[in-house]
Symmetry: C2
Subunit: 341 residues, 2 copies
Amino acid sequence: MRNLTVALDAMGGDFGPRVTVPAAVQALSLFPELKVSLIGDQLQIAHQLSLLDCQPNTRLSIVHSDHVISDSIKPSLALRHSAKTSMNMAIDLVANGEADACVSSGNTGALMALSRFRLKVLPGIDRPALVSALPTAQGKKTWMLDLGANVSSDADSLFQYAIMGAALAEEHLGRPARVAILNIGAEEIKGNDLVKRCSEMLSQTQSVNYVGYIESNQILLDKADVIVSDGFVGNICLKACEGTAQLFIDKLKAKFSGSSIKGWVARKLFADLFIELKTLNPDQYNGASLLGLRGIVIKSHGSADVHAVVNAISEAVHEIKRQVPSRISDRLEAILLERHH
Amino acid sequence: MRNLTVALDAMGGDFGPRVTVPAAVQALSLFPELKVSLIGDQLQIAHQLSLLDCQPNTRLSIVHSDHVISDSIKPSLALRHSAKTSMNMAIDLVANGEADACVSSGNTGALMALSRFRLKVLPGIDRPALVSALPTAQGKKTWMLDLGANVSSDADSLFQYAIMGAALAEEHLGRPARVAILNIGAEEIKGNDLVKRCSEMLSQTQSVNYVGYIESNQILLDKADVIVSDGFVGNICLKACEGTAQLFIDKLKAKFSGSSIKGWVARKLFADLFIELKTLNPDQYNGASLLGLRGIVIKSHGSADVHAVVNAISEAVHEIKRQVPSRISDRLEAILLERHH
């Protein structure tokens, strides 16, 4: 079995090593072929390891870094002042071939800028896009992109998102992915120029299973496997779903908690309901990928807990095994050939 | 007491007179000062009235129209071929001063195009916007616009939406409205050029209580009274909330229904929970306004039931009483004066 190495930015996110170190240890027990490099403050990481009765070994190494990237730094500044940060050093390990993927819970804009600068985009790709798998009512997954890597996009970029999303989804599904464009109506006359132009391009591409427009009240209903939009719209849409889901879960919790008989009966009878509803909150997953780079970069939530960081590492392992960047590259090349004939 | 007349497009929506006629009769019993003109097929309307043991009277008139606007017609075609439709005749009654407001559940694009053509926009307004009140977790309301009257907007239009939204919200609230711009982050550096330029304009306007950016996972939490966005983004955001809310309600319903003891206990214990959760679905309200016109036009859902159409008529009555168009006009004039000094 080939070894897979994940470079984990141990300092990123709201909790740093308190969360990333236990997550690394758990991930190692899940994947026998996995190695993890923890990048960050040596003392803090060693301390967290000792709390778990662990120490560095052949599968778990520490790469020391004094610096952490600020959550509020602008991407342009990050490029100039982040060389020695744990995030940049994690990306560098991928760029140098010492790791197969990087996982970070740090500043998204900085992760995007540094990854793009160090790893470069794949041929045929203008900009990387942030993609994540959303749950559906049917227990399936739908991949949505761009979730905010870019604040504006042209039709060519949107088209590229569709190809990248299809390549990723198909690696998971093992069948052609239904690709849809997020729009304000399902009819052909609806929408702005951007979606209309991209729709035309996808309609003319035989190797993409384009199924048309999808409205945002349908995205959790398993009507498409891949949903593309520009990063501004995608981010707004995803967070609107997450916010509404959270609001409903909070209201239910308030009803079911407390020491009343009603609360007690509710908890006894409907423990499974909570679990089911929680799986419908798009926020439950963790591990959005930056697609379109010559390397694998996984963005974990800033507020991710141990379980969530383990999920992000699992996504990295999956993408390494499936060689997602080269699949995307192959797919794009085939489509460009098709379009030139 | 001054009489208020609402012109109701009796043929619009999925159910036509079967829903609009009972709604008109109910609204008349709610508002003693209200008169309703039902515009549509005389025979169908009279039949529905007879089922309710009603007939036309001094407060309830029928204006016959042979034609109904198609749900799929393009707005540009609607302008040329809709003169005799119930929708256009309802708008005409407002344009001629025979009615104070128009309510229609018909084709949104056509309603927008016909209203703009017949009623004209207010001075200082480039484009009307669709606004609706969303529920919040705190039992308050938040007005959101544009919800899809326009598929693209510039910063000036967004600024105008903010003024119009503030004028409407303040008529309901009786206090200065907190105005926010929908964005992908709360920090100043986040977002695209459109929101940044509008944010700058609002920051420099003293007579608007601008509170900054709001993310879409916060819109149901009473953090702002007015939320502005371009029509594409606003429509996507609203429907994402509605779709998620509906999904959760459906899942709960499935759990609580059935003849099992569990279902029975659940229904007994949690009847109030359903009602509470339903009030959190943005879709529960009806009666979005087309703001920015020299007249009051209320768009009702195509799928609206009797109760929902009564809500839309109530919104029309409220806006007539508060003289919303002239309030917007005054507000804009004051702000334009402020900006020129």
